[in-house]
């Protein structure tokens, strides 16, 4: 079953804000990480703003046809990382974001990608200067 790609989509639940979640069963990435990552992205790109209510864990589990524990773990990680706040009896809300924090998250993401490039470079004999040159080129191109 994990050989086929299955996508589930969650959108608009009663009063809660619409969020888009696409789950892939074949990506090899744990499902709670996929949920967590996609909600983080939507908070960081501004499509979810501070104070907005997220769907309840049970409601999201139902829409995505997932175990409640899976969604619960994603929400716990988001809470731990400061992206959402959970008020008992009221639900989960997007936390007020601090810019420093978002920057740090982005930096970590960039580090991950650079690490991958460094590994590729090392294992295929691409010199470091070549890689840094390419990086500089891409960086300036964006200006």
């Amino acid at each position: 079953m994990y050989l086929t790609n299955q996508y589930a989509r969650y959108k608009q639940y009663k009063g809660a804000i619409p969020i888009d979640i696409l789950i892939s069963n074949s990506s090899g990435k744990p499902i709670y990480e996929q949920i967590c990552g996609q909600i983080k992205t939507q908070i960081m790109d501004g499509s979810l703003t501070a104070g907005e209510a997220l769907p309840s864990m049970r409601a999201l589990a139902k829409e995505l046809h997932l175990s409640v524990i899976t969604v619960q773990r994603a929400y716990e990680d988001l809470t731990r990382d400061g992206f959402i706040e959970t008020v008992s009896g009221k639900g989960s809300f997007v936390a007020a974001q601090n810019q420093e924090f978002i920057r740090e998250e982005r930096l970590r993401e960039a580090e991950g990608l650079l690490q991958r490039a460094a590994e590729l470079g090392r294992s295929h004999g691409i010199p470091l200067e070549k890689l840094t040159g390419i990086l500089a080129l891409f960086y300036e191109e964006g200006d």
Partner: protein, 285 residues
């Protein structure tokens, strides 16, 4: 009460089959999948939980009470793999009889389910398809407002569309955190989708009781060329094919690092079940 079902050292002896010291729990608000091959002891366990069979040993707590207590039984909805309503009954007759049996019967909810499943109120049970009969049984089980739903092979023999509708209904049911579902099936893909915990039974014994995400995200299959042996402590079960040796491992990422020449894959619930049932356990187990 944290658990809807609590089973400890449950034992039942039949000539030729023993249910041997079975222990597990169904926490409130959760869906627990109960898997195993035919004849492994799933139905026996369920009948013991429902007090339909007399146990030889151990203890069962059903919604915090003794399963012999009719008050506990009244809060449990049960669905078996065959529809037990008389063939000449219509869904309306089913309501007439059951509303007399269950004081908590909710006629409006029942008719709501019939509508949702497009079940005709006046057609006789014998003219309904297998899928419709199953939907009728589930509608009736939900209409007396249970806190716990027990399904014994209820999705067996149903087409994927009907199975999906039933899964939807189960997820609806546990929107209330006080509710829980205990769901036996040999169709592991249904359980793989919605269960929070998975219990595997084999030859009357519990093989494991594990969080489903742990099984899917961490467990894996390590495939090695024959002869390249894996240390006994590093795997749970081993299986040999014509060209390679396969090992079920508890942490596929770690196994992949330790044995870089082998291939470490994710395992589906079905793979895991087959490994336990068909493979040879490691000496460490």
């Amino acid at each position: 009460m944290e658990n809807s079902i609590l089973v400890r050292d449950l034992t039942k002896r039949f000539p030729g089959f023993t249910l041997d010291c079975v222990s597990f729990r169904v926490p409130k608000g959760r869906i627990v999948g109960f898997i195993g091959e035919n004849g492994a002891g799933k139905s026996t366990t369920i009948r013991l939980i429902l007090n339909e069979l007399k146990r030889d040993g151990g203890a069962v707590e059903l919604l915090g009470r003794d399963p012999a207590d009719p008050a506990a039984r009244a809060e449990v909805g049960v669905v078996f793999d065959v529809c037990n309503f008389p063939e000449v009954f219509t869904p309306r007759d089913v309501e007439r009889v059951l509303s007399g049996v269950y004081p908590a019967w909710d006629g409006q909810a029942y008719r709501g389910y019939l509508k949702r499943f497009a079940l005709p109120e006046k057609k006789r049970v014998k003219t309904l398809s297998k899928g419709m009969k199953m939907k009728l049984a589930i509608s009736a089980a939900l209409a007396h407002k249970p806190k716990l739903l027990i399904l014994d092979e209820a999705t067996a023999g149903l087409d994927p569309v009907v199975r999906d509708e039933i899964l939807d209904l189960l997820l609806d049911f546990i929107q209330d955190e006080e509710h829980s579902v205990f769901f036996s099936s040999h169709i592991t893909s249904d359980i793989q989708k919605i269960a929070d915990y998975v219990v595997l039974i084999h030859q009357g014994q519990i093989v494991f009781d594990e969080e489903k995400d742990v099984l899917l995200d961490r467990y894996g299959i390590l495939r090695c060329p024959k002869g390249a042996e894996v240390e006994p402590g590093d795997y749970i079960v081993r299986r040999e094919t014509g060209v390679s040796a396969e090992y079920l491992v508890r942490d596929r990422a770690e196994a992949g690092r330790k044995y870089p020449k082998a291939v470490a894959d994710a395992a589906s619930l079905e793979d895991i079940m087959l490994f336990y049932i068909k493979g040879e356990a490691s000496c460490g187990e």
